[in-house]
Amino acid sequence: MRKDVAFGQYYPVDSFVHRTDPRTKLLFLIAYIVALFCCKTGWGMALCALGLLTVILLAKLPLKLVVRSVRGVVFLLVFTGILNLFFYRGEGEALISWKFIHIYKEGIFYTIYLMSRLFLLVMSSAVLTLTTTPIALTDGLESLLTPLKYIRFPVHELALIMSIALRFIPTLMDETERIINAQKARGADFESGNVFKRIKAIIPILIPLLISAFRRAEELGDAMDARCYSGSSIRTKYKKLRFTYRDVCAFFFMAILMTGVFLFNSYGAALSALCVQGWNALLGLFGAV
């Protein structure tokens, strides 16, 4: 019996974001990443974080799940952050100097900046894969890449290969599990021993799996032939992605977000100054009272 494992990360709930066209989501992600990298102020970064939070809430995703997606790359992120922190050369006096390590005030700011940028980047990509099935992503990619057909790039073939691969992942996963179980039942041990022993232990899984994959490929080829597949130009396409009001909303949302980021880039410093002034004024007021 198959265990009904969902591969990839797709989180199956019905939401505004889930129903949005995959092309919109792909473009949205690209725009979002651009915004992240263009962003030069803390205000802008906060706005980006707020934007992502809104999308996550709209998508009805548990926040925990999105944060968990960072787990895989957390070491890389922290490592990059530490390097930056230690080697960023700021102006003026270093806060801490020890051998070759100098930590500057700007360094700390810059590191916080970089880290939040990378975290938001990873999380936003996770939101895409959590809300979009792999097959919808493939459709979206195929549609977005269509213009490349004119330079003879095999867009359709690529999309078909991807879709078949996606289709067979669960089947082959099941098969792998069945073979592993069958060999375990014959006393195979995959967990102990040195590297060589372990590699050798994989052979009884790998060979039956390969043979089965080839057999499946051959049968699939026959089945595709029998269903008149020839990859010829008369081929039509049933699935057409359609933009809806959701996509219009998404574009507006993105436009506001980007405008916000750029406005903060230009006027962020002024805004900060204004805040400081306001704060001081407030303190002054209290002092007077």
């Binding site: 265990k3 069945r178 179980n181 039942a185 014959r186 006393g187 195979a188 041990d189 052979i203 060979i207």
Partner: protein
């Protein structure tokens, strides 16, 4: 080795949005020496259950401690096979697997070695505490290959992939029984074979039951196979044992099985159609017994017919 199972539960992907309860408290006892059948349709939990017998799926108490407070709606599970307590983390699962052989559906798809000999000897080498001598290995493999009905000298050096479908399946079975398991579990051993192949596999199982393994457990969809071969049968439905009795008892109430969406043997179909026509036949639902009983009725009638002139008819 007896198998005693109580309160076995299992949930796939626990805690994820895809979680599904496959077993919801299975109680089942299988005695040593039985030719036991397990039926139920896809998703009834029968495959999940038999994988427990081989510790391919562990009883949850073997993974984390049983907590009577937390698991208050489930009783503590019991899974005892001979001297092995499968609910105990310290159970020697490898030794258990040598004693409980498991033949999966389409076992020929697990063949991998270059020669039939190498494939069959795989399990033997894995389970051996110390490396067996070459002579001992050869003797054991030869015995296993011969009991499944193949010619040792002819096939031992052949590639298993050059054999016919039926032969491949026999080699795969030999690869499981080579360690002399006391209990042999087979999941749909006759699936995909033609009628003659099916018959041969069932004959092989009886031979194994007689000379090789004490207990045989067969998971099957084919009710004729069950009624012809099994001494007792358990019906799985929705993660539980719906009924456990002799085939005779089971098929006497065939409407229950049909309510579960399961098939019934041909003999039961005829028996029921006969009952509707006022002819009651008491049979154990094997073909031979059915034929004997009908013939006996017929003889009784013709005998009566012969001396009917002086009888009350």
């Amino acid at each position: 080795m007896d198998i005693i199972a109580k309160n076995i539960t299992h949930t796939y992907n626990e805690g994820s949005p895809f979680s599904s309860a496959a077993l919801k408290g299975v109680d089942l006892t299988i005695r040593e020496g039985e030719f036991f059948g397990i039926i139920g349709h896809t998703g009834s939990g029968k495959s999940t259950f038999v994988q427990h017998l081989n510790a391919l799926i562990r009883v949850y108490t073997a993974e984390k401690k049983y907590n009577p407070k937390k698991d208050k709606n489930t009783e503590k599970p019991v899974l005892q096979i001979g001297e092995f307590d499968l609910t105990d983390k310290k159970c020697d699962f490898n030794a258990l697997r040598a004693k409980v052989g498991m033949v999966f559906q389409y076992p020929e798809y697990q063949l991998f070695a270059e020669t039939v000999f190498e494939d069959v000897v795989f399990g033997l080498r894995n389970f051996a505490k110390e490396k067996p001598t070459k002579e001992a290995e050869e003797a054991a493999v030869q015995q296993a290959i011969e009991i499944v009905g193949l010619d040792y000298a002819d096939v031992k050096d052949k590639s298993p992939f050059d054999l016919s479908g039926g032969q491949k399946r026999r080699v795969a079975i030999a690869g499981v029984i080579v360690t002399h398991p006391e209990i042999l579990v087979l999941d749909e051993p006759a699936a995909g074979l033609d009628p003659i192949g099916k018959r041969e596999i069932m004959e092989l199982l009886h031979k194994l039951h007689r000379d090789w393994c004490r207990t045989i457990i067969v998971v099957s969809h084919d009710m004729d196979e069950i009624s012809e071969n099994c001494s007792r049968v358990a019906v799985f439905s929705e993660g539980k044992v719906f009924k456990c009795c002799t085939p005779q008892e089971l098929f006497r109430h065939s409407e229950e099985l049909e309510a579960l969406g399961l098939d019934i043997p041909l003999t039961a179909k005829v028996q029921r159609a006969l009952a509707e026509r006022g002819v009651e036949i008491e049979t154990d639902f094997t073909r031979d017994d059915f034929i004997a009983k009908v013939s006996a009725l017929f003889r009784k009638k013709t005998d009566k017919g012969d001396d009917g002139s002086c009888g009350k008819m």
